[in-house]
Symmetry: C2
Subunit: 151 residues, 2 copies
DNA sequence: CCGTATCCATTCCGATACTG
DNA sequence: CAGTATCGGAATGGATACGG
């Protein structure tokens, strides 16, 4: 709790982001939401986590503004959880995690799921950090400076 | 433990990546390593976590191959922890977390640290997912397919 | 200054049972 | 099917004390 408060008020955006979504279940829920999963039971089935935990995580995500609750599209009595713009903006985080995992965490011959674009059915580009001019940047090509947020 | 094993053997690279580095402290240690922090005491001072915890996290990161241990560059008796190529490859993950945090987690007037490139001292590009042809892709423009890892 | 070992509080999570 | 309430075990992390 003390730690959470620290991070949440920290001026490092990385720390704040981790405070919000730096949680295994939360990121996996968002990953599945990108796969168009919307229903409680569907999340539950795919993730295999306890239902009470899922309840809590979904609630957190709604409070954070990452998911929004909608009436079910099929007319059933239940809710659906859909990504907001803020939630959809997590996409590059999930994809960069994915690409790093693909690259370093699989042995020869193991199978894994790849991300393809719908148009060409080709793998997406490997995400990289780029300068305004488009040059790929390594960690040592960058530095940090404190500024004031102007909306 | 049961959960960890599940995720670690899962064929989803996102899940595996989270299993490895989906931990607040771990990612914050890597973030500081990008800031050229190398020493135990320096990590400790900047992160403010308990020393025993730091010991464990550093050991994990070394085992994973994200950090490597070196003799101290200043001739002192102690170790230094430096990023490997695998560790440096985490850069886009940290930067995308940063950009998402900047965008959604700060109020007007709050200050935060920004990432600039050394050459032009301009903010880096906002990270996005792109097709081979360079087109920006939204989550719904993509799909997944299972393949076999060929080195 | 670096790192480890022990102890304890808290948190997290799964299993289960229950409600609508 | 969707969601809540309770409980117990496991893991996490902080404080502290100790050794290199």
């Amino acid at each position: 709790m003390a730690k959470q408060t620290q991070l949440a008020h920290c001026e490092c955006p990385v720390a704040r982001a981790l405070e919000a979504i730096g949680d295994r279940w939360v990121l996996l829920i968002i990953r599945d939401a990108f796969d168009d999963v919307r229903r409680f039971g569907e999340f539950h089935k795919r993730l295999g986590l306890a239902r009470n935990v899922l309840t809590i995580k979904l609630k957190q995500l709604v409070e954070l503004g990452i998911l929004a609750v909608q009436p079910a599209s099929d007319g059933s009595a239940y809710k659906e959880y859909v990504l907001t713009d803020m939630g959809r903006a997590v996409f590059p985080i999930v994809v960069s995690l994915r690409q790093w995992g693909e690259r370093y965490l699989f042995e020869q011959g193991e199978s894994y799921s790849q991300l393809l674009d719908n148009d060409q059915a080709e793998q997406v580009q490997t995400i990289s950090v780029r300068s305004r001019s488009g040059k790929a940047l390594n960690p040592e090509d960058c530095h940090r400076r404190v500024v004031r947020h102007e909306g």
